[in-house]
Symmetry: C2
Subunit: 143 residues, 2 copies
């Protein structure tokens, strides 16, 4: 099913071939903010992704090793999605998008705190937040 069609060997192009569509990075964003999400959680995001696209994007991200599915502790009917290390490593990218957006468009006030944090000590933030994501991931893998 998942045969990768690369447009070229350029690293930018290859990366875009994986997550360079309208939705993938929003899924990653949700996971970075929430650590873990169910299928329904993604559907609830304010951008209102269509359910069929969500399904195909989740498959794509999983087959590219950016996210993993795991059993929900509460119920067999639920599925938890979370970032792999490869997914966690998209954090610096996300941070740069945030900073760019901050410079050139109006940011919702509830994000101001994070933006300030980012502008003042980006490196420290990246280090500690990616560690946080990693710890969360490991914890769930064990249970």
């Amino acid at each position: 099913m998942g045969e990768m069609k690369k447009r070229s060997d350029c690293p930018i192009s290859s990366s875009l071939d994986i997550w360079g569509d309208k939705w993938s990075l929003l899924i990653v964003r949700d996971l970075i903010f929430s650590m873990q999400c169910t299928y329904g959680d993604f559907l609830k995001s304010e951008e209102k992704i269509a359910t069929n696209i969500l399904a195909t994007r989740l498959q794509m991200l999983e087959s590219n090793g950016i996210i993993t599915k795991l059993d929900h502790p509460d119920s067999k009917a639920k599925v938890l999605y979370q970032l792999t290390q490869k997914g966690i490593d998209l954090l610096p990218l996300m941070v740069e998008i945030h900073l760019w957006a901050d410079k050139y468009s109006t940011i919702p006030p509830e994000r101001n705190a994070i933006i300030e944090e980012l502008k003042n000590n980006k490196d420290e933030f990246l280090k500690s937040y990616s560690k946080l994501l990693k710890n969360h991931q490991l914890k769930d893998q064990i249970e």
Copy 2:
């Protein structure tokens, strides 16, 4: 013509609404590498963008203030495209994509030098290269 439809106020989402398609960042990449490109230069890139999409993407990027057109010094038939400051500020993003791609996919050997440079002194690289882009831009605006 350019009415912006934002899916939400999230900075990630708003940014993707501008350049989150299959091609825009490849156009920006070409401009970051080459400083300036003609329409034909973009068409020559190895990903082989279709001419009609190139036209609409260039318009989109221009109307969003990421690139500007300027007269080619040699000929009235030619047009030069180059990055604005807003476009130059996508450099950190590009660098992070590069680093992510380096970690998770095979990079063409001719890029190894840049990658090493990036890994060893990213901040210094960013500072000097964005200054370079800026200088180039200013030079052309005067002529």
